[in-house]
């Protein structure tokens, strides 16, 4: 495998961002490893956009430091052309058509690929002569997504620009992203609250909640953190007796319990004997569990 696992593309240290009365980011320290697809997950208002704005040099932190490829991104002509940030509410110059936006992007990003851009324009069926202002939400999203992909920037942040796309167009975006990433590995950060849609695309999860980083972890490891058992209540209770329970639901004599930690081999054998089934915990469910836990009991254990 040729993916670089040593370098860090972007590093944030002790970053706090305060607005007049609110604290959007609270002492955030996080790194984005190079040539990986990261999922930046969290609820609306968790601080995802604030974090990306600061990492991409579009906003200044109140405190703390940011490095992108070893340099401060803010007003830095050497690093900014290597960073692409597309967001859902992307603004364009009045009266600009899609072709104007693409021409501007081609000038701004040294790795811009017109061939890829044209394939995407036809994939998304994008009218080139319509002014962006007059476009539908889906078409505007397509413009942003095309710029994000065709720029082939060394680090690209997608701040939910796909939210405006319908389900079919979103799948097209995910497919094209994977194809192009496979051929041209680079650092990609996808922010989303539709976690299950991107769960298989991402390798690493950065989960933020109320302006703090709850965890940074490979997806595979995160998935192993919890399991859901379904079966007869007494059987499920026997197996989960010594475990930290995240949720428990019952219906008659059946019970469904989600517990922290992977199952041991002994437990797995016991489950077969007791006819208890394991149901995978989706990344979405796990994130919901982790971000809605009682802060008094759960926070430290999760944040570690």
């Amino acid at each position: 495998m040729s993916y670089d696992t040593t370098g860090t593309a972007a590093q944030v240290r002790g970053v706090t961002r305060r607005y007049r009365s609110a604290t959007a980011l609270d002492d955030v320290t996080v790194g984005f490893q190079q040539d990986m697809i990261h999922g930046l997950l969290g609820r609306n208002g968790a601080g995802k956009t604030s974090l990306m704005s600061i990492v991409t040099g579009q906003d200044w932190p109140s405190e703390g430091e940011v490095d992108v490829f070893g340099q401060r991104p803010h007003e830095n002509e050497q690093v900014l052309p290597r960073i692409c940030f597309v967001r859902e509410d992307q603004r364009y110059i009045d009266d600009a058509k899609a072709s104007h936006a693409f021409n501007a992007a081609a000038l701004a990003f040294p790795n811009w690929d017109w061939g890829l851009a044209e394939r995407l324009i036809s994939d998304f069926n994008l009218p080139q002569k319509t002014r962006i202002k007059k476009m539908s939400k889906g078409q505007r999203s397509a413009v942003a997504v095309i710029i994000g992909l065709a720029s082939r920037a060394d680090i690209t942040f997608f701040d939910e620009p796909y939210m405006g796309l319908d389900a079919v167009a979103r799948q097209t975006f995910y497919d094209r992203l994977l194809q192009d990433y496979a051929e041209h590995p680079r650092t990609i950060v996808l922010s989303s609250h539709l976690i299950d849609e991107i769960a298989h695309l991402i390798e690493n999860v950065v989960l933020i909640d109320s302006g703090r980083v709850l965890l940074t972890e490979p997806v595979e490891q995160l998935r192993g953190r919890a399991v859901t058992l379904v079966g007869r209540a007494d059987a499920v209770r026997e197996i989960t007796a010594d475990r930290e329970v995240l949720s428990r639901e019952s219906l008659g004599r059946m019970e469904r319990t989600t517990v922290l930690g992977a199952l041991t081999e002994t437990e797995q054998r016991r489950m077969v004997e007791l006819d208890v089934d394991v149901v995978p915990v989706s990344l979405q469910q796990l994130v919901v569990h982790l971000t809605t836990r009682d802060p008094q009991s759960g926070d430290q254990e999760v944040a570690r």
Binding site: H200, E203, V219
Partner: protein, 121 residues
């Protein structure tokens, strides 16, 4: 592609099945990490992990610069592994269910014979 087991294990098993049924012949080039990633819509690192699992089990061999190839004898290796797991995966749950609904082992054996004769050819 979601049944509780890690995704990379499922990827590995799928390649194994192709080797077992001969659709992927010994000596033939196996799908690359990127091909698997794009086809299954998963991260290439996950696909790579599945491929590496098969390299560790000596089902696939890496040829520098050329890609992954199915090892000689891979099919027989897999068959032997599957035979070993057969009892655990199929017989144990079957006997548990049989006991649960009050079927004797003898009845189960009879049922197996009957079923085998009905098998479409």
């Amino acid at each position: 592609m979601e049944d509780g087991r890690p995704l990379f294990v499922q990827i590995a098993e799928e390649v194994e099945s192709s080797v077992l049924d001969g659709s992927l012949a010994e000596g033939e080039r196996a799908p690359s990490t990127n091909e698997l990633a794009v086809f299954h819509r998963i991260n290439p690192a996950t696909a790579a992990k599945g491929i590496n699992l098969l390299v560790d089990r000596e089902i696939l061999i890496k040829r520098r610069g050329l890609g992954m190839f199915v090892a000689e004898g891979a099919q027989e290796t897999l068959r032997a592994q599957r035979r070993q797991r057969f009892a655990d995966h199929y017989l144990t749950p079957m006997l548990a269910e049989a006991r649960y609904i009050g079927l004797s082992v003898e009845t189960v054996i009879e049922l197996l014979r009957e079923r085998d004769q009905q098998r479409p050819t």
